[in-house]
C-alpha cells in the first residue's frame, strides 16, 4: 500500500501486519492506531454518512469521532485503540456510523 506520509516517526518501532480494507499494512506494534495509520500515509479514515466526504483524525483524544473505523463489526475510534498483529480495519463507507439520539 501507499506509504508516502507527511508525518514522520522520531524513532522507528518494530512492525506488525494488519489489514486495511483487506490490504496488508505494516504498523508499529502497540502504537496508537490513528497515529500509526497517519504515519503509514492513510489520510481518509472514513467518509461521512451525510455527504460522503472524507474525514481523518481531528482531536486525537476520543472526542470528535472523525477517526471512526470498523473493527470486528463495531465502529471504533482509531485514536483510542492500539495496533496489534492481525487487526482487520475497515473504513466506514456509509451510514454505519452510530448516531447518538439525544
Amino acid at each position: 500500500m501507499k506509504t508516502a506520509s507527511t508525518f514522520r516517526e522520531l524513532t522507528r518501532e518494530p512492525r506488525v501486519e494488519v489489514t486495511l480494507d483487506g490490504e496488508k499494512l505494516c504498523l508499529p506494534d502497540g502504537a496508537n492506531l490513528a497515529a500509526a495509520l497517519l504515519v503509514a500515509g492513510v489520510t481518509t479514515f472514513r467518509k461521512t454518512p451525510v455527504s460522503d466526504t472524507p474525514r481523518g483524525p481531528f482531536c486525537m483524544m476520543g472526542t470528535c469521532f472523525d477517526c471512526l473505523v470498523e473493527i470486528d463489526g463495531v465502529a471504533r475510534q482509531a485514536c483510542m485503540l492500539n495496533v496489534r498483529a492481525g487487526l482487520a480495519i475497515i473504513r466506514l463507507p456509509d451510514a454505519q456510523v452510530p448516531n447518538a439520539e439525544t
Partner: protein
C-alpha cells in the same frame, strides 16, 4: 473491589492530585480514566514517554511524572482504559473496560474531565489533515510522530509551545498564521502589572517567541478571512494579512484558539452552568471547593473553568480536602490550614491569565462563522442553517436538533455546542445563558449491547 469513598473521572493533573491528597488523608479512591496510561492530555503517557522524548517535550511535560508517581498509593485504585458512559444518582458510575461493562458505587464523585479545543469552524476545517493543535501535541507526546510541512493557525500560547516542540523534534512548522491583532495586544497591556506576578509564564512565552524567530518560522499576525482548501485532503491555507491575500501550501494544519471546559459528564447530571464571558464558554456553578449544586458531585481542573495544569492540580487538592472534611477525616480547622498555602499558590498561577486571555482572544470569525461554514462536523450543519432555523422560530440548541440534527451525531455536540449557542444568541439577541445548551444524556460515550451484557453487576442492591 471495596466501595471507595471517592470515584474520580479522569487521570489528568486535577484527578491525580485529588487522588493523592485524598489517599494520604485515608480515603479509598478509585480513578477511572479512558486512556491506557495516566497523565490526561497535558501529561499524556508521561511515564513511558518522559525518558525517550522528554528533551523535545520540555520540563513542563516531564513534571507530570511527579503526579503519576503518587498514584502508587495503597488507597488508590487506578483503572486505566476505563471509559465512563453513565453517572447516576447514588452514585452509580457505569463504564467499559477491556470490552466489559461494569459499575462502581461511591458517595462522592469528582469530575476531572479536562478541556476540549474550542471549536474553530472556518471554511475547510473538516478536511483530512486539519487537526487541533492539541492533536498535534498528542501525536508528538504519545506516538513520537511529527507533522512535516505543517501550518499553525489561530491564537494562543499553545501554538508557540507546539511550534517549539516541533522545532526540537526537527520539523519546523512552515508558518504561524495568528488571528490576534495589535489592538488585542494593546488591550492586554492594562493586565500586565498583575501578569508580572506570574512572571515565569511570561518569561517562558518570550523564550518560545525567540526560538521561533531564531528558526526563521514566519509569523503572520492579525490575519483575517482564514480558510482551508483541498480536494480530499488539506492543500493550502488562505488568509488576509495587512490588506493582502496570501496562500500557503501545506499538508497539515494545526488549529487552536483556546480550550474550553469539557462539561459533558457534569451536564448529564443536570449540574447548573453559566456563561463565562472572558472564556467565551459555559462553566459549571461551583463553590470555592469545587462542590456543584448536585450534592456529592465535585468538579476540578479545566472541566471547572480553564486555568491550566498547575491550577488544576491545586483545585484537585482543595476538592480532596473538602471531601476529607465532609467524611470526618479532617476538622474544618485542619482543612483550612492545609488549604491556605494551596489557595495562595493559586493567585500566582492565575495572575497571567487575564493578560493572556486578552492578548489571545478567540478568533471572532470562528465564533460566528459565515453562512456556508460547517459548524456541526457530524451532521454537516452550516452556520447559515442555524441562522435560518432561528428565523423560523428556533430559540435554543435543543430545538436546533429537531430542526436539522445539529449536535445529534457521534460527538454529541462536543464540537458544535458552543457555536450553536453563540449563533442562536446573536440572532435572537438573548444572552447565551438564556439561550442555553444541549441537554446531555448518557451514554456519554458509545457502548455496545455486548459490553452491557458482559456487565458484572455486584452492587449492594442487586438480587442475590
Amino acid at each position: 473491589m471495596q466501595k471507595p469513598d471517592l470515584v474520580i473521572v479522569g487521570a489528568g493533573p486535577a484527578g491525580m492530585a485529588a487522588a493523592n491528597q485524598a489517599a494520604e488523608l485515608g480515603l479509598k479512591v478509585c480513578i477511572l480514566d479512558e486512556q491506557s496510561n495516566p497523565g490526561g492530555q497535558i501529561y499524556r503517557d508521561v511515564d513511558r514517554v518522559a525518558p525517550i522524548r522528554g528533551d523535545a517535550l520540555g520540563a513542563d511535560y516531564t513534571y507530570g511524572t511527579r503526579l503519576t508517581d503518587k498514584l502508587h498509593h495503597a488507597n488508590i485504585v487506578h483503572m486505566s482504559g476505563a471509559t465512563v458512559w453513565a453517572i447516576e444518582k447514588g452514585f452509580c458510575v457505569s463504564y467499559t473496560q477491556n470490552g466489559r461493562g461494569a459499575q462502581i458505587i461511591a458517595d462522592h464523585i469528582l469530575l476531572a474531565t479536562g478541556a476540549l479545543e474550542r471549536p474553530m469552524p472556518i471554511p475547510g476545517w473538516t478536511l483530512p489533515g486539519v487537526m487541533t493543535a492539541g492533536a498535534g501535541q498528542i501525536l508528538l507526546k504519545q506516538s513520537g510522530v511529527v507533522a512535516q510541512n505543517a501550518v499553525l493557525v489561530g491564537s494562543g500560547p499553545l501554538l508557540y509551545l507546539i511550534a517549539c516542540q516541533m522545532l526540537r523534534a526537527g520539523s519546523a512548522p512552515k508558518a504561524l498564521i495568528e488571528t490576534q491583532t495589535g489592538a488585542d495586544t494593546r488591550a492586554a497591556l492594562r493586565h500586565l502589572p498583575r501578569a508580572l506576578q506570574g512572571w515565569p509564564y511570561l518569561v517562558k512565552g518570550l523564550k518560545m517567541l525567540a526560538a521561533i524567530r531564531r528558526a526563521g518560522v514566519p509569523r503572520y499576525q492579525g490575519t483575517a478571512s482564514v480558510s482551508i482548501t483541498g480536494t480530499d485532503h488539506v492543500e493550502a491555507v488562505h488568509f488576509m494579512h495587512k490588506g493582502r491575500t496570501k496562500s500557503i501550501s501545506c499538508d497539515t494544519v494545526f488549529m487552536h484558539h483556546g480550550v474550553v471546559p469539557n462539561t459533558q459528564a457534569a451536564r448529564s447530571l443536570g449540574i447548573a452552568h453559566h456563561w463565562h464571558n472572558a472564556q467565551q464558554a459555559f462553566v459549571p456553578k461551583l463553590d470555592e471547593w469545587g462542590h456543584s449544586d448536585f450534592a456529592g458531585v465535585f468538579i476540578a481542573g479545566d472541566s471547572a473553568g480553564i486555568g491550566g495544569a498547575k491550577t488544576a492540580e491545586a483545585y484537585g487538592k482543595l476538592t480532596a480536602l473538602k471531601i476529607a472534611e465532609m467524611t470526618g477525616r479532617l476538622t474544618v480547622g485542619e482543612r483550612d490550614r492545609k488549604a491556605s498555602p494551596i489557595q495562595r499558590s493559586l493567585s500566582h498561577e492565575l495572575a497571567a491569565r487575564p493578560f493572556l486571555d486578552t492578548a489571545y482572544p478567540p478568533f471572532n470569525a470562528a465564533l460566528t462563522p459565515s453562512d456556508n461554514t460547517l459548524i456541526c462536523r457530524c451532521e454537516e450543519v452550516t452556520a447559515g442553517d442555524i441562522r435560518r432555523y432561528t428565523k423560523l422560530g428556533c430559540t435554543g440548541p435543543n430545538q436546533a436538533k429537531a430542526f436539522g440534527r445539529a449536535g445529534m451525531g457521534p460527538c454529541q455536540g462536543r464540537y458544535c455546542g458552543l457555536t450553536v449557542t453563540t449563533l442562536i444568541a446573536k440572532e435572537t439577541g438573548q444572552s447565551p445563558d438564556t439561550t442555553g445548551y444541549y441537554r446531555i444524556r448518557p451514554p456519554l460515550k458509545p457502548v455496545t449491547l455486548g459490553e452491557i451484557a458482559a456487565m458484572d453487576i455486584t452492587t449492594d442492591e442487586s438480587p442475590q
